[in-house]
Every structure is written in structure tokens, then in C-alpha cells.
Amino acid sequence: MTLLAAANGISLPGTDDPINVSQTVGFALLAALMIWAAIRVVTTRNVVHAAVWLVVVLAGAAAQFILLAAEFVGVTQVMVYIGAVIVLILFGVMLTQAKLGNDPNLSRRNWYGGAVVAVVLFGLLAFATIDTFEDAKLPEDRRMALPAAEVGDGEVPRTESNTGAVSDAVFGAYLLPLEVLGVLLTAALVGAIAVARKD
């Protein structure tokens, strides 16, 4: 009995299904591309090049999400991360005194501290993922929709799409976090205005 199944009382999908070969091959190719691009992010001598390599990593993650039938998460990855967060990072680079050209002093001497953190984080995530999903596989055309979600003060009819299932979760159990997210974004912008104002 794994953590996810124990917590929610649901059976893991596709435990007995055969391995989806095309999906596994696609995952391996994308993973290799992402690892290569991630290495280039930390080894390139140019900050702007690092940001552009980060775009490759994030696009690979979006493709992985689509491979896992999580279309909404994949499109969100493209819109928010590639569209907005990279813009923020590039503006951050342009606002600071960082050199846009090649900078031989880009590496710091305590980089191995970051490497230790990365290895520990990788271990934790790998353990959590393997322990949670074990033999679960991508369902073949099986939808993730929950049976008749509870939204608002009554039950709404069940949805056929995964995006609809996300919506049921967001507007059902996770409505308060959604509104808190709105407050958080507002606070971030008010803070930025306070920092950027001249007077």
C-alpha cells in the first residue's frame, strides 16, 4: 500500500498494463535533452545564454507533462514559465550590473554546496515518486476525472476531460488556495511598485 493510495483510498492506475513503449522512448529522449540543456545552464559563461538554455529545460518539462496526459499542466508550463518567468529572469539580469557578455568569473567557489543540495533534493523527489506510484503507468485513454466532484454547495456532473478534472479540484477543495494565490500575486506586485518608485 503506497502513500497516495493510502491517503486517498484510490487504486493506482494501470498497474497491470503493458509498458507503453513509444511513451517510454519519448520520455528518454526528452530527459536526455533536458539533462544536456540543464548542464549547459550551469556551465555557460554568459548569463543570457543560461536563461535561453533554461527555456530548453522548461520546454522539455512541458513536453514531459503532455506525454503524461497532463495537457493543462503542460500548457501552463509554456505560458507561465517560458512566457513570463523567463521574461522576469531576463529583466532581472538587465536590471543588475551583471555583464551581458562572457564573464569568466561566473562560477563561485562554493558551488559544491549547491551540488549537495541538488543531490539531496533529487534523492527526496525520486524516493517520493517511486514510493508513491510504484508500478503505476500512464493510463491508455483512461481519463483521470474524479467521480462527480463536489463543487460549491452541490455535486456537479462528472467531466470527461483532464482539464475539467483540474477545474473541479481548483473550484472545489482548492478554492481557498486559489484566492490566496491571487492575494500573493497582488502582494508581489505592490512590493515591486514600492521598490521601483522614485519618490
Binding site: 522576469l88 543588475t96 456537479v156 475539467g164 506586485l189
Partner: protein
């Protein structure tokens, strides 16, 4: 392969053809053209005048506010998509929940307007 992944195969083929076409045209060009590099040929070209100084200047911080405003309304748009797929099922409850979310985010643009950061002086 599931139907969902097969439908995305079209996207993959489209992208592969686009990348392959650009690569083929550029590769053919580099294969056919004469190659005699000189330092003058490698500098940036603009209206026939040689560039002076560097292209790098420090940007103003107020650009950051516009970037952050973009992030805020990007996130708002992202949450509109799942709502749009289920809006009919939710009825007025969904309208109220989404109106509250958009209302909170609209405070950002009101704050920016009130502090006059939208005005470019």
C-alpha cells in the same frame, strides 16, 4: 499509443518538419556558398555604420513592474482555461469564485494606476 499522444504526434511532426526545413536550407546554404571570413564581416551591421561602444546598458527598474504585471495576468489567464471548460456545470457559484479571483488581481492594476507607475514620464 493512446489517442491523446497520437493527436500530439501531429504537433511533433509539424515541429520536426519546421526544424528540419530550416536546418536543410541553412545547411545547403553553408554547403554551397563561398566561405572567406574576415573580421570586418563579423561585426554587427546597421545602416552601413560601424557600431560604437557596447550594446549593453542597464535597464530601468520600472520595466520590471510591467514584466510582473504580465506575470500576474498570465496566471489569471491560466486559471480561466480550466474554468472555461466547466463554466456551465458550475453556474453562478463559478462566476462568483472567478469574479473574486479576478477582483483581487484587478487590485494590482488599480494600485499601479494610483501610484502612477503606468504613466511614462
Amino acid at each position: 499509443m493512446s489517442d491523446l499522444l497520437r493527436s500530439y504526434l501531429t504537433v511533433f511532426i509539424f515541429g520536426a518538419v519546421a526544424v528540419g526545413l530550416v536546418g536543410a536550407v541553412l545547411g545547403l546554404g553553408s554547403f554551397l556558398r563561398p566561405k572567406r571570413p574576415r573580421p570586418e564581416k563579423l561585426i554587427a551591421y546597421e545602416s552601413g555604420v560601424d557600431p560604437v561602444g557596447e550594446g549593453w546598458t542597464q535597464a530601468e527598474i520600472r520595466y520590471y513592474i510591467f514584466a510582473l504585471l504580465f506575470v500576474v495576468f498570465d496566471v489569471e489567464a491560466v486559471f480561466l482555461f480550466p474554468y472555461a471548460t466547466r463554466a456551465e456545470a458550475y453556474g453562478w457559484y463559478g462566476v462568483g469564485a472567478m469574479a473574486l479571483f479576478i477582483g483581487i488581481l484587478t487590485l494590482t492594476i488599480l494600485e499601479a494606476w494610483r501610484k502612477k507607475v503606468l504613466r511614462w514620464s
